[in-house]
């Protein structure tokens, strides 16, 4: 008798286990399929055009959500993505340019930035001064393309505030 009961018990548990495993694996496979393996996002290294096309002061590049600053022969780039919740900040020209030492590099600041979503305000170097923004706006690496001499931004490479690209 016990042998028979054990057998039924075993079959019941085996069936239950098979059911749980089957459903569990189906669920896991279904969920995993929703995690993308390939990103079709825009590339992070982008050619921005010849340096001569950039005016002195600020140019906003909506596609890269980037501000490129030029002061004579030196360039630097600041992200336009608010560090709070990712809205695009707007630049506002100041009536008087301000000169400031940024990590030892004297810089002319012509604009400040404001976020339309939750009112964060940033100074010209990207430092948050009011509103909910938790961090400063990112600075990105700039370089000159070897093939056609155009300005290249690397949106995956953040740099410190003393970074400048100076043309010869």
């Amino acid at each position: 008798m016990t042998e028979r009961k054990d057998r039924r018990d075993f079959m019941m548990k085996a069936g239950l286990g098979a059911g749980v495993c089957g459903l569990g694996l189906q669920a896991a496979a279904s969920l995993r399929s929703l995690v993308p393996n390939v990103s079709y996002d825009a590339p992070t290294t982008v050619k921005l055009g010849l340096p001569t096309e950039f005016p002195d002061g600020l140019k906003f590049l909506p596609d890269q959500r980037l501000f490129v600053f030029r002061e004579g022969k030196t360039f630097h780039a600041i992200s336009a993505v608010c560090t709070h919740l990712g809205c695009t900040v707007r630049a506002e020209a100041m009536s008087q340019p301000e000169f400031r030492e940024l990590d030892g590099v004297k810089t002319r600041l012509t604009h400040r930035f404001m976020c339309p979503c939750h009112g964060s305000k940033y100074e010209g170097d990207g430092k948050p001064v009011s509103g909910p923004a938790p961090r400063a706006l990112a600075w990105y690496h700039l370089s000159i393309s070897v093939d056609d001499g155009s300005l290249v931004v690397d949106l995956a490479q953040e740099v410190a505030r003393d970074f400048r690209l100076t043309l010869a």
Partner: protein, 456 residues
Amino acid sequence: MAFPFLSFLKRSGLKRSGDPEAPGVHPQPFWSFRPRSDRESGDAIVSNFALHMFPAKVSRASLAWKYSFWLGTGSAALFLLLILSGAPLLFLYVPSVERAYSSIKDIEFVVTFGSWLRSVHRVAAHAMVVVVCLHLVRVFLTGAYKNGVGQGQRREWNWVIGVFMLLLTLLLSFTGYLLPWDQLAFWAVTVGTNIAASIPFIGPQVRELLIGGRAIDQPTLIRFYVLHIVVLPGALGALFAYHMWRIRKDGGLAVTDKEALANERQEAPAVSTKTYTLLGIARGTSPVVRATALSRLDTMVNAVPDLIRRANLVTLGTIAIVSILATFIRSPLEEAANPLVTPNPAKAPWYFLWLQEIVTDTTVKIGSFTINGAFVGGVILPGLLVTFLILWPWIDRSPKEATGVWFDRTRRGQNLAFILLCLFILTLTFVGTVMRGPYWNIYWPWEIWPEIPGRI
């Protein structure tokens, strides 16, 4: 009878030859909206598929307008209306980033009645958020998540189910918000999904799973679309069925318990259709039983027609109000989604604006360490609020006599706290909706917003 579904057209109970007459055998296998006896009334519940979820008898008190305001029925009616008005939109809308916006534009300007159908869907969705919230407020203020007299009551679990149904309602509204693929949609979803990304450590992965990539694009649209039309309505429908089943298991609305507690076991005339043991009618000369309110004739009424008529009135009234409102309220459609330009100001849907107010004000700086307000106001605070809502039936230690009573004295403190919380949320919603202008600055409603150029 050849057409059983037409039987209600016929006065039931008419004698036909060949009807069996033995006790317990029903002379009419069909049912009527106008029953002439308790048995015919009960037959309706038993024979009709749509009615079988209702009890045969309900307490008179639970039907009172001023007890429940029928807000649950109203929510269900709105859900029904959303399914009905969503069905034609399913045939007309194309969930692709190239065509979504123009298909909505077609619905708005080309399709016959398209604009009205879209408005019905939108007005009903906003109304559902309001009515479901009011339903939660009613249940809290009447202590209706408490158990009174019945055996095996689990009203606290039905409250938990209800909280999840509220969350599903909000998610349904939010996923629907993206589908037009206009500026309003795109930036509301940008902000919403970046809140998810602010969770420490796992945030970016959560956002990537939500939107199917690192930027809001086709994978996001199809995800929100499938959630909106299949996953979330399915889950809400399943929870709705469970919610209703639990009401039956818990013995009806909580006010029924109040009735039962108020006049426990009074002497009452025996009910002729019930069977009693001899002990039940032992005293006196006429048959008198000691019955609880739940089995006394004067406190209970037949579900058909008393409950059904009121439920039908609420449903029809809800559909009528929404349909009429939809002829006056046009649904907005802004410019097509443009990831390059953030509108100024960029606002979430109104029922999330109190959260947007909070995420604006909750960035915490401790020395050099900063916690993003998005995480505090968008994840921690709402999470705490939902947790408290879910746990409240176990925190509330008021006596069982407070079950199903508006503003019971023993629950005065918690009712007050709850009302203050609601007023706080309403105030923030008002500020966010009316008083926030460009760059999220405060403007009085009568002030004119300054002109802000569209681009720099």
